[in-house]
């Protein structure tokens, strides 16, 4: 089985960094979708089955917090796991997002190992094989 992932960030560099890190984490990736903000992400989510979303917080048009709120109000999207990948380091903000339903939080700058641990936590240990021979 391979997973469909959605990477949401207004920086094309970060989208590429996230995609590379996920590949290095050993996640069996099928389709990879990209969006530059929350609004674009909702359009992708409305048209495609997505197994896991990696989203930034501070983006133009619709930010990551608004995206999480919209997804939590949609019966088709409420169970789709969202991992926030952001430069915000505030524990208060992270706690607020966890209360809104995000599954994990990765602080920028990040390392690929961080993605491996998060993938294991969110999708189960068997899906994260990075670092194994």
């Amino acid at each position: 089985m391979s997973y469909a992932i959605l990477v949401v960030d207004d920086s094309s560099i970060v989208r590429t960094m996230v995609k590379k890190s996920i590949a290095m984490a050993g996640l069996p990736v099928g389709k990879v979708f990209e969006a530059a903000n929350g609004k674009e992400a909702l359009e992708v989510l409305g048209k495609n089955w997505i197994d896991i979303v990696f989203a930034d917080l501070n983006m133009p048009e619709m930010n990551g917090t608004e995206l999480v709120e919209k997804m939590s109000q949609d019966s088709m999207l409420v169970s789709t796991p969202v991992v926030i990948v952001s430069s915000e380091q505030s524990q208060a903000k992270i706690d607020e997002l966890k209360a809104k339903g995000i599954r994990a939080y990765i602080k920028k700058p990040f390392r690929p190992e961080g993605f491996r641990d998060v993938v294991a936590e969110v999708l189960g240990p068997a899906q994260a094989k990075g670092g194994q021979p």
Binding site: D10, S12, I13, N58, S86, S87, Q89, S90, Q91
Partner: protein, 154 residues
């Protein structure tokens, strides 16, 4: 709460460049002028005080930053990514900066980076009203500046 200072700006940016992009720098009080084009990024934040951070980097250094962030050699894969790289460096930096100033439990609003290219003469000019500023030089002698302008209280 920690007061912003030139030294804190320099050390924080130096640490970020090392950790995120394997670029090693030293602070320098009298830096060489920018050569050719430079790339500028600005980002605002609101917390116990309101401020704007500005980064200006030599365009060549910005291109190296893009390559290092992507784990690629400089070339086709990193072409045209210099501005995005400086914007993302500043985006990462502001997150660390507000925690250093205000602590992990503080609530801050962070903005979105605005990036533009600018000529060397404009890049090296002092920022009017800056509360603090620092110049860093990397191993190949290329320059990156950081400054903070306070724009108001909370």
């Amino acid at each position: 709460m920690t007061a912003p200072s030139n030294e804190l700006l320099a050390s924080s940016l130096g640490e970020m460049l090392e950790e995120a992009a394997f670029i090693f720098t030293e602070p320098q009080d009298q830096p060489p002028p920018f050569q050719g084009k430079a790339v500028e990024a600005r980002i605002g934040y609101q917390g116990p005080h309101t401020g704007e951070l500005r980064l200006v980097a030599d365009a060549g250094l910005a291109a190296t930053l893009a390559a290092n962030l992507l784990g690629e050699e400089e070339g086709d894969a990193t072409q045209g990514k210099a501005g995005d790289a400086i914007g993302e460096l500043l985006n990462m930096f502001v997150g660390v900066w507000v925690v250093k100033l205000f602590g992990e439990q503080s609530r801050c609003k962070l903005g979105v980076p605005k990036v533009r290219e600018l000529p060397a003469a404009e890049a090296g000019a002092p920022v009017k009203g800056a509360a603090c500023a620092a110049h860093l030089i990397e191993e190949e002698g290329r320059r990156i500046d950081v400054s903070l302008t306070l724009t108001g209280g909370s």
